[in-house]
């Protein structure tokens, strides 16, 4: 199994600012994933964070808005840039296990 922590757990931000979310895993993993969960909605994959290469973004998500870093096999960051109220969501990171995925507790973001 994998234990994942995220920082911050929640934040309230002003529009136009940026927030960087950290994801730390207690073991080395090849792939890490970032998901967004808008209020009352399901999870949508933002991107796959690859160690040593650029992240792979899903349709509708771009690097300028959601830059991702993956400096090593246990850590990744997601930045939500130039925020607007529509970015208010829970952001979750996850890693693949054996026939499962492990999720962090999420970062609850409110943009005013």
């Amino acid at each position: 199994s994998a234990v994942i922590s995220q920082k911050p757990s929640r934040d309230i931000c002003q529009r136009g600012t940026s927030l960087t979310i950290q994801c730390q895993v207690d073991s080395q993993v090849t792939m890490m994933f970032w998901y967004r969960q808008q209020p009352g909605q399901s999870l949508t994959l933002i991107a796959t964070a690859n160690q040593g290469s650029e992240a792979t973004y899903e349709s509708g998500f771009v690097i300028d808005k959601f830059p991702i870093s993956r400096p090593n096999l246990t850590f990744s960051t997601l930045t939500v840039s130039n925020m607007s109220p529509e970015d208010s969501s829970i952001y979750l990171c996850s890693v693949s296990g054996v026939e499962t995925q492990y999720f962090g507790p999420g970062t609850r973001l409110l943009v005013l």
Partner: protein, 114 residues
Amino acid sequence: SQQGEEDPQALSIQEGENATMNCSYKTSINNLQWYRQNSGRGLVHLILIRSNEREKHSGRLRVTLDTSKKSSSLLITASRAADTASYFCATDAAGSSNTGKLIFGQGTTLQVKP
């Protein structure tokens, strides 16, 4: 985009009753998983069923998969108040070379009344 639909969107039952949630998906899959989420927190993996399996049990959970109908159901028997949560199905795409990417259904919010 979301893989499919789940129904019902919301379900309210009494403790001790059974809860059944359904999930439909659109593309061929390698496997289908069910997750639980408590109060907007992180997801917890419940059970995985492979595309060549039709039924799987884990404790009070029973999952079925019908690949011809591209649908799955999750049955929670003898429900408890602690089962109150949102439940999501998630699929990987067949032929995705084990990328680990999951596509989630819309989810069912279950409330179990004491």
